[in-house]
């Protein structure tokens, strides 16, 4: 099984009022293609910071990060934007849909930045919304949708560019338990269809539905549950290209 994420010695240090605040301390992590992983930890453990680095929303202070065979350490902002666009789909706790756009337009957004022609965008976005069960709500704006439906739109948006990895940050955090379960079922289903998914959560019941849980305490990975070891099973740094 191919390695999707390979991290070696990732650190992240924030500078606050002249003080160095280490948030991530020497993280080594590997996630394989097709895995279904939860990153768990208390608030302040660094799990969101880690997710931001995995998602290329932020850069680590030091360390090596290879995503799907590409070394991301040396990329500039625009190249990272391309990586986010082509390789990563985000699902946020607060959905983060554009309020003035319809469900269809929200889902088409990543494809605009991928320079996909309009007709192909409509087809792909309709397909993605069908996959999350919202074929009848294409024209609805976020305000006309329930929280669960908004999160489904967000998931469709995350899927539409066929990313290597879907990153979900507390995807059920703003939802009631019944809707949360529906969203988890959807994510589980997507993973069964082959999508690599990483969920950041502090909710053990969410983590329990994934196949592997990574625990974080105080900026370090302390334990990899569900039988996996760190680094990942194949234990080989992908031979990709370190530029």
């Amino acid at each position: 099984m191919a390695t999707m994420i390979w991290m070696e010695g990732i650190t992240q240090t924030f500078h606050l009022e002249g003080m160095d605040l280490p948030v991530l301390k020497q993280i080594d992590l590997s996630i394989d293609d097709g895995e279904y992983v939860a990153i768990m930890g208390a608030s302040g453990s660094g799990k969101s910071t880690l997710m931001n680095i995995i998602g290329c929303l932020d850069r680590p202070t030091s360390g090596l990060y290879i995503l799907d065979g590409s070394d991301l350490t040396t990329l500039d902002d625009d190249e990272l934007a391309d990586i986010r666009n082509q390789y990563i789909g985000f699902v946020f706790q607060q959905f983060n849909l554009l309020p003035r756009l319809s469900a269809l337009e929200n889902v088409m957004l990543p494809m605009i930045y991928a320079a996909v022609p309009k007709s192909a965008r409509v087809t792909a976005a309709t397909e993605a919304l069908t996959k999350v069960g919202l074929l009848d709500r294409l024209k609805s704006r976020p305000s006309q949708l329930s929280g669960g439906q908004q999160q489904r739109v967000a998931i469709a948006r995350a899927l539409v560019n066929h990313p290597a990895l879907v990153l979900a940050d507390e995807p059920t955090g703003a939802l009631d338990s019944k809707t949360s379960q529906e969203i988890m079922n959807l994510l589980t289903e997507l993973n069964q269809q082959g999508t690599t998914i990483a969920i950041v959560t502090h909710d053990a019941s969410v983590a329990a539905q994934t196949k592997r849980t990574i625990h974080m305490v105080d900026g370090k990975i302390v334990e990899a549950a569900n039988g996996s070891v760190q680094p990942s099973a194949n234990n080989l740094r992908p031979d990709a290209a370190i530029v």
């Binding site: 799907d68 590409s70 625009d78 082509q86 605009i112 290209a241």
Partner: protein, 429 residues
């Protein structure tokens, strides 16, 4: 298991696709359309800024042109000598109120003042009742001589001014202003040869004057001209022993430069004729239009300055308005920028979109603002009856400024927001 995704970092760089300008334009238009209220408010800032600049400069220029036209209509090489300035008990009786000037004075000036090209005497009375059939109006009656039309630049549009023979024998003939004609005659009705009753006496119309329009709120066409001899004997009725009493006379010099010399000569001759001793005050008053002209030129200069200052202020206010709303609009969209960046927008495409939106708003708002400003200026000019002029520079300046301010005020915060780390942008509310 692995899909056809690139495993090699180099390929990312090659694979990079740029969002086309057309796509950005469509996205900007859709965003503006989807946020109608915000778009309308932003545009309103631009519209108010531009239209106020255009309206104010147009009104300013119109008033300037009108004032200038009025002053030159008075003549730049003429002066008027009016009877009066006689003081009784220290109270000035006002120009023209005392009968100290006679037609003989005017004729003597014409003969003896070398710099006088032409002189015309006048004797006038306001609120004179004029009747034709069952129409009864009140107008100004002015008795004068044959030099009046050329000095005062009055042309007949029908018939002719009265003749020397009319003047010599004091015939009851009338040359009427166009307002008088409009009030007394129906459109198309023949005027020449028609009879009027002026203060009960019968007069025959010999001509109608070309319209001179308004001057300082006074209708120059609301007047009837009759021979001075007739005016003096039939209407005013004071055949003084010393001669024909007049209110004053106009003097035309060859050009403005000779007017001061003429004024000096007129003063000397009149003082001599009226037997005024050295040290006593004149019993007449001279108004020199070259002096008035230079005063008005100064006034016009201040007027131009004032219009410029007001236009500058409205440009500033308009510019601040545009800048303000653009800034606020970009601030409240930081989260949107974060979302767009998270799904793969580059800083460049974010900036292009916001710039395009700012340019669209500035251009569309600018066009509406120009239209509105021109329309308002036209309305004001029509209502207050001054010439309608729209200086091209005001359109250019207003439009250019709104574009520059719009792009800077929309672009600079957008550039800052586009440079933000997507995380920070996403966290903003």
């Amino acid at each position: 298991m692995k899909t056809a995704r690139s495993p090699n970092p180099q390929t990312h760089r090659r694979k990079r696709r740029k969002v086309s300008l057309r796509e950005i334009l469509i996205m900007s238009i859709e965003t503006l359309w989807n946020n109608k209220l915000r778009t309308a408010l932003t545009m309103l800032g631009v519209i108010i800024g531009i239209s106020s600049v255009i309206m104010i400069t147009s009104i300013g220029q119109g008033v300037q042109q009108q004032t200038g036209a009025q002053i030159s209509a008075l003549g730049t090489n003429v002066m008027v000598v009016q009877a009066g300035a006689a003081r009784r008990g220290g109270v000035s009786q006002g120009a023209g109120s005392a009968s100290t000037l006679t037609w003989e004075d005017a004729r003597a000036i014409a003969k003896q003042v070398p710099d006088a090209k032409a002189v015309t005497a006048f004797l006038q009375r306001g609120s004179i009742q004029v009747v034709r059939g069952n129409i009864n109006i009140s107008t100004t009656l002015l008795g004068t001589d044959l030099n009046y039309p050329s000095i005062k630049n009055i042309q007949p549009q029908a018939g002719l001014f009265f003749t020397q023979a009319d003047l010599d024998s004091g015939r009851p003939v009338a040359f009427i202003g166009s307002t008088v004609r409009d009030e007394l005659f129906r459109t198309g009705e023949s005027t020449i040869g028609a009879d009027l009753r002026i203060q009960g006496k019968r007069y025959t119309v010999v001509g109608v004057a070309e319209s001179k329009g308004l001057s300082g709120g006074q209708d120059l066409d609301d007047a009837i001209y009759i021979p001075l001899t007739n005016m003096s004997s039939q209407i005013v009725g004071n055949n003084a022993l010393t001669g024909v009493s007049i209110n004053g006379f106009w003097l035309e010099a060859a050009d403005g430069d000779q007017l001061n010399a003429a004024q000096f000569q007129v003063t000397n001759i009149l003082r001599l004729r009226h037997g005024i001793k050295a040290g006593d005050v004149d019993d007449f008053r001279i108004t020199n239009f070259v002096d008035i002209m230079s005063t008005f030129t100064t006034v016009m200069g201040s007027l131009t300055l004032m219009v410029g200052a007001i236009a500058g202020i409205s440009l500033l206010v308009g510019g601040i308005g545009i800048a303000n709303i653009m800034l606020v609009s970009v601030m409240e969209r930081t989260r949107e920028i974060g979302i767009r960046k998270a799904v793969g927008a580059t800083s460049g495409s974010i900036l292009s979109q916001f710039l395009t939106e700012a340019i669209l708003i500035s251009v569309v708002g600018g066009v509406i603002g120009v239209g509105l400003g021109v329309a308002l200026a036209f309305a004001v000019a029509t209502i207050f009856k001054f010439p309608f002029v729209v200086p091209l520079w005001s359109i250019g300046t207003g439009f250019g400024l709104s574009l520059i301010v719009g792009v800077l005020a929309g672009g600079i915060p957008a550039r800052n927001a586009a440079k933000l780390n997507p995380i920070s942008a996403l966290r903003s509310d």
